[in-house]
Amino acid sequence: MRTVDLWLNLRAGVHPLAARSWLLAGCLTLAASVAVADERAPLTVRSTTTAEMRRIADRYCFECHGRGSEEGNLALDKLVDDSNRAKRHAAWLAVWKNLRAQSMPPADEPQPKDHERQALIQWIEREVFHLDPANPDPGRVTIRRLNRVEYEYTIHDLLGVDFDAEEAFPADDTGYGFDTIGDVLTISPLLVEKYLEAARAVVAKAVPPEGPGVPRRGVSIGGFRAGKKSKKNAYKVPFADAATLEQTVNIDVAGRYSVRFEVRAAGADEATSNTARVSTVVDHQPLKSQEIGWDNNNTIVLAGEAKLSRGRHALGIELTPLDPPQPGEDRLFLTVRKVELQGPLDGTLREYPSQFRRVFFDGPPPADAEGRREYAAKILRHFADRAFRRPIDDVTLERLVDLALPLDRTPQPTFEQGIADGLTAILVSPRFLLRAELQTQPDNPSKIVPLDELALASRLSYFLWSSLPDDQLFDLARHQRLRAQLAEQVDRMLDDPRSQRFVENFVGQWLQTRDVDGFSIDAKKVLGLPTRDASVRVFNSAVRRALRQETEMLFAHVLRSRASALDLLTADYTFLNEPLAKFYGIEGVDGDKMRQVNLAKDGHRGGILTQASVLLVTSNPTHTSPVKRGLFVLENLLGSPPPPPPANVPPLDVKSVRKGGRPLLRTLLEEHRRDPLCASCHSRMDPIGLAMEEYNALGLWREREFAKPIDTAGRLITGEKFADTRDLERVIATQRRGDFYRCLSEKMLTYAVGRGMEYYDAPTVDKLVASLERDGGRLRTLVHGIVDSAPFQKRRGDGSQQSTAPRSKPAPRAADAAAPKSSPTPVPRSR
């Protein structure tokens, strides 16, 4: 006996029970197929009365769940009559979910009409859940630590230091498909240890190892001129003509200075006898001179010392031609790479190198103890304000200053070492690592408060920049002016290059482009090529990189150009470079730079479902998987993942289809769907995945498989017919537009607030969908809508009906740890 699964496995290689995700729990996306968006009745038109509700339920539900029947332990008629609805919340939640998912009534029973189903759902939302569209419940977001990506960007924006958190930290756990979910971003002891090490490593790059030194300044290379009219510049001085390029520099403190030029000869790949003499000049006096030829294609340093008075001085470089090139040889030119002045060398003036001035912004510390303490406080306050994303209180600051300038340590650390310790302490503080949002009565679930402006600024900046608020956001929030100009700020943030991080992180997880780089695929086998070399010519790392960028750039374009989110499905343009265009078989794109390219109307590309990134990550290593592709569309575009498969799938009699040799995948799947048990899920997934069979596991278009033409036509469970993948995209973008809007809204809201969707989010999501519908689906409208929504703007107190599970407490501290024991409350630290 073979089961259905065998047949799926023959080609798809994936057991339906094991398909990666069947996200169902707590997911509102189930709502999707309730009604075609255009027909969805506005919520405000008319409220269903309890009598009506009972009448509809009587017709479709009570047969099994009423009039004495209690299948699945549910008597819906008694439930309706039970006035203590809060107590029966769990039962109602199950009813509501099943109605929205259309998993009840069962597929082989009469189905309520869309407006009837909608009426039942609305009645439950209003009468049982007491959802108030005018005043939605914001829910509660668990305090959230920075994930690896956010840590990197935050450190970069704070200190200008690059730190590879993806290498250094253990991988972040994800929930609801994203790595921004507070509840699963746990803090293991290992991670705390890593935070401490990371803080040290980062601070070591931001704080000078020694005290301030002799000031060093760069001189602009572009500033060197051969005279007012000459266009000659120091980047390219031909060996052919004598030339002097000069500029004036200002010296504030008289003394001896080191003058350092880095130059090199360029212009010829092969040996040439072309030479020249190059001299550096200060106030028209030669300082250092050297003959330069082809051999000197490495950097040459011309350094000397000169005594400079306070005031203006001419600094220059002089070139005198020597040997010309032999016939057939290339001509050389001189290029100046770097010019630096350091002084006065006697040490009367000291400062920090420029990369450290971000921290030591007022230069070296004063000599007196009082002054040093003040300066340390100033440095630490400035840094902590930004790192904590909230002004630091005086008590904490005092502690930090004490930590940086300890009185009791011998030997006394230097000022720089002390500041380094202070900064390290800030970077391991929970106020930096966690985004705490403080509120009054944090344990009162009925208390709903607007976020304070500083917390709002952080929510915004982590949503759109994956990093801390910049100075402008921080200052606005600090002065309570952020809410007043929220829309302008959101637009500014989206127009800022940092919003690329949102694109990469959101799209990277929503459409799974993050997985493209590491996705295991056997290109040789997929392409049916004899050697690895041959397959690498078709599919290589350049193509991989480009196809990931293609999807991200389309999203970024739609977001920035204020286009409709529907363009993600139906755009007649895409983003390509030469390697990717060649891969797709599109002509006329040259060079490695990705750019917007218009697509042929009757071509095989356009929209994300035709992009190789999506097609690739929904495949198996050697072949396509219609089930995975179908599931991808249901989960991420239509928001109607099928319910989980039943526990024991009965075997399918497939003798009939076996007749006549190897059956087509389509035939197998069709036979499979004849079983109503299987059909309940597979009639949703399979037709979608089969339409996408016209693209192989690498995303290349193909006309036939196993020499048989591919039949791409199908229909959605909701009845809409489509001819192929692009037609499917059109169907989603028109007839199922509402589902798409809803799904996208839920995904982005989940990403933005850091929690899964709950039943009480229904009014919020309804509102987002409505505004998209009004506005032609502009992606930017959605971002604004999310920022304005209750879950983003407000907090509810803890202790909700959801999370009342007892939580464990931390281990006792070292001194108490000799005999392990559990402790009912966190053990206070003794000093």
Binding site: L190, E193, L196
Partner: protein, 454 residues
């Protein structure tokens, strides 16, 4: 073959008698073992050497026909998958008939890979949630670490070869946390594993070249004190301002801080960090076999230097769709595991299974070639569980699990036999008996209902 609890207890105590009768050997016990908490030295063998415990996890079940040995008792025949272990026949036992009942779907439905991974060391049922309120149970290694962890610089070590997570949802509505972590410190706090061998090494022995490491290590720990004090104060002040769930995150953070504090204290008690005298490995190798071996090497080094006695090693997370270039298998492991009795697929699974047992052989070989302080080998003084949370991956079965118990536990354990349990027995019974060997006082763990005579 669950033994009557009392009988098991008696038998175990008889075994204990051996070491109780040898007080004269106490002087052999290392200084720090004597400092360990409790009355008798925990996690030590009869000779006073450290007794270690490690768990290695393989994903997606096995080809059961090629795995299950023929015959039972001492005269059993190694099956094909265990051929790479032939040389170690006298160093391990095969146990069949163990199960993780909480792995089965029941009303939770699909998600067997998440449950296989989640249940294996906890014997607990994971709460089905994609994130909001993850809840499982304390894992056996962490329970042990809570009792014996104070004897070593690191209470436990968590390793994995999965450095990256897949985007999108994980298995069937379960948070990815269940599928990528073996160790759980509390029912809600997984212990994130480390996958980079270089970072494992530096964590154990300090950064820098051989010779400089101890100094670097010591220096760093001293400087950390004032910073840790500050961090803990901050956390406690913040704690008071937050709601319950938020406080839980702070508790996790505080636990981490205290863990480091404790380690500094231990470092001061134990003296210098051992310098293993080898070069720091460079990052994650591109080749999976090399990666597995480097991680095994790290585990051996950790045991050898007595940096820890408790470890878990997730060789790959359950549901892993990894391909195996080394043995010419280009299909994903997970896809193959749904073999539906297809001969070609079963053959490939058998090859993958043998690949993994080959890597176990490598690990056991390293342990056997390393001398412990009592003159025995590390393998003699260890208990290594090698297991999957599924038997037949095709049907997602959580019973009759493939389990090997290697090492001699300092002489406490049987070896060279096939223990064939006639009745389905909780895997956690095995764990309770292993905890007994470590002298961790526990009567019941997870879903255990007795002990196993091991």
């Amino acid at each position: 073959m669950t033994l009557d609890r009392q009988a098991a207890r008696r038998k175990f105590l008889r075994g204990m008698g051996v070491c109780i009768a040898l007080p004269a050997l106490d002087w052999l016990a290392p200084r720090h073992a004597a400092l360990a908490a409790g009355t008798g030295p925990k996690a030590t063998t009869a000779t006073g050497a450290p007794l270690r415990m490690a768990f290695c996890y393989i994903p997606n079940g096995v080809n059961v026909a090629c795995w299950t040995p023929n015959g039972e008792g001492a005269k059993y025949e190694l099956n094909r998958t265990m051929e790479p272990l032939a040389d170690f026949r006298s160093d391990f036992q095969v146990i069949t008939g163990l199960e993780q009942r909480n792995g089965f779907g029941g009303k939770d439905g699909a998600g067997d890979h998440a449950r296989a991974n989640a249940t294996i060391l906890t014997g607990a049922r994971p709460r089905k949630t994609a994130g909001a309120d993850i809840q499982l149970g304390v894992s056996v290694d962490q329970l042990a670490a809570q009792h014996v962890g104070d004897a070593t610089r690191f209470p436990s070590l968590e390793l994995s070869c999965d450095g990256v997570r897949k985007s999108g949802a994980c298995d069937s509505g379960y948070s990815c946390a269940y599928q990528f972590n073996l160790s759980w410190r509390t029912p809600t706090s997984p212990m994130a594993p480390e996958s980079n061998p270089r970072l494992v090494f530096e964590r154990l022995f300090g950064a820098g070249s051989s010779g400089q490491r101890s100094e670097a290590f010591r220096q760093r720990q001293q400087q950390q004190r004032s910073i840790l004090d500050f961090a803990a104060d901050e956390a406690e002040r913040l704690h008071r301002q937050l709601g319950r769930n938020d406080q839980h995150k702070l508790d996790e953070y505080l636990t981490g801080v205290r863990d480091i504090e404790r380690r500094i204290e231990r470092a001061e008690r134990f003296g210098d960090v051992a310098d293993p005298g080898v070069e720091t490995p460079s990052g994650i190798p591109g080749n999976y076999r090399q990666h597995l071996r480097l991680m095994s090497d790290m585990l051996v080094l950790a045991f050898q230097t007595d940096s820890t006695r408790i470890a878990t090693f997730l060789m790959a997370h359950d549901g892993s769709n990894r391909t195996f270039e080394d043995i010419g298998i280009r299909d994903g492991h997970h896809s193959l595991s749904h073999h539906m009795n297809d001969k070609a697929k079963l053959e490939k699974i058998a090859k993958i299974d043998a690949f993994y047992t080959g890597e176990l052989a490598y690990f056991l070989g390293r342990l056997r070639n390393t001398k412990d302080r009592d003159g025995r080998t590390l393998l003699e003084n260890s208990m290594i569980v090698y297991a999957s949370g599924l038997s037949d991956g095709n049907r997602h079965q959580h019973n009759n699990l493939p389990v090997i118990l290697a090492g001699h536990g300092g002489g406490l354990l049987h070896a060279s036999r096939h223990l064939k349990l006639t009745q389905p027995t909780p895997m956690t019974n095995l764990y309770v008996s292993m905890l007994d060997a470590l002298k961790v006082p526990v009567e019941q763990f997870g879903d255990s209902n007795g002990r196993l005579e091991i």
